[in-house]
Symmetry: C2
Subunit: 95 residues, 2 copies
Amino acid sequence: MIAKLTPAERSELLPTLPEWAVDEGRDGITRKFAFADFVEAFGFMTRVALLAEKADHHPEWSNLYNRVEILLTTHDAGGLSRRDVDLARAIDALI
Amino acid sequence: MIAKLTPAERSELLPTLPEWAVDEGRDGITRKFAFADFVEAFGFMTRVALLAEKADHHPEWSNLYNRVEILLTTHDAGGLSRRDVDLARAIDALI
């Protein structure tokens, strides 16, 4: 069972992900990406898909042409967990 | 310049896409897909991405684990066009 981040953990970890915004309603974190075109955007999505499958932790995400929006939350925890932070960090490392 | 479908064309073509629902607000068509798991869903998305890039006509779409939702509309036409019908038909042929 994955635990939600405690307030102390959030205060420690979220500042390490400055590109991600907290979505309070979903208790998750979101980031929007823009690329040169669809091929670049979908190439990025493919890399994220492989990371996500390997981590067994999957994003909620959408794409329109060169834009990708990702929301990370942990359904099993009912909100933001360490898994989200780890996947966000791995996604950031792709950019 | 791509033209929107005329009412007569819509009446002729939309019944040929029974799996797709009209989104009146967006003047597009949508379909929801469910797969066994994320790998199946993203595999499908990859096939759609290749079709879309080849047609130079791209979906608005989202994914959460095994689910994929696709909206097709033609921004250049300000609504539903033949391109959407053709891409929907090509997507249906993947399933």
